[in-house]
Symmetry: C2
Subunit: 83 residues, 2 copies
């Protein structure tokens, strides 16, 4: 099993846009084969820090995920919300 | 460097109590030698799921942390808030 923790530092004014896009990524990713969990978390003390915590069955599932249409269409756009 | 991700599933009515206790743990832990980061995160879709994401310089720092007074006095009590 592979775990991924990805932290994102978001511009305060863009948090809601980021969360909306990220929620779409989470929803599609959870439907993928080999996805055990995929959650979106916000720092309790600092809402500009968001973490994705993901669990994948194996490296192949993670690679398929990174080659998926939803990954390729959503992830590159997320960086426009970064601080 | 060692990373720790600890997920907690909390009873809805006890979330605020849990967060208050956990915040105290975070604050003390951040002052420890070898603590690179220590954050408390809440699932955006489900506020009953809380994750701690921690980074420690090495195994010794993590072991010292688990032997610290604040760890021993706070962590065993956190499970009373679990679902």
């Amino acid at each position: 099993m592979i775990k991924v923790v990805a932290k994102h530092f978001i511009e305060e004014s863009r948090i809601n846009d980021f969360l909306e896009n990220a929620a779409e990524l989470v929803e599609s990713s959870l439907k993928e084969d080999g996805c055990i969990s995929y959650g979106l978390y916000q720092d309790v003390k600092d809402s500009e820090v968001v973490a994705m915590i993901e669990e994948w069955e194996d490296r192949d599932s993670l690679e398929d995920h990174m080659a998926s249409e939803h990954f390729k269409s959503i992830v590159p756009g997320l960086n426009e919300f970064y601080e």
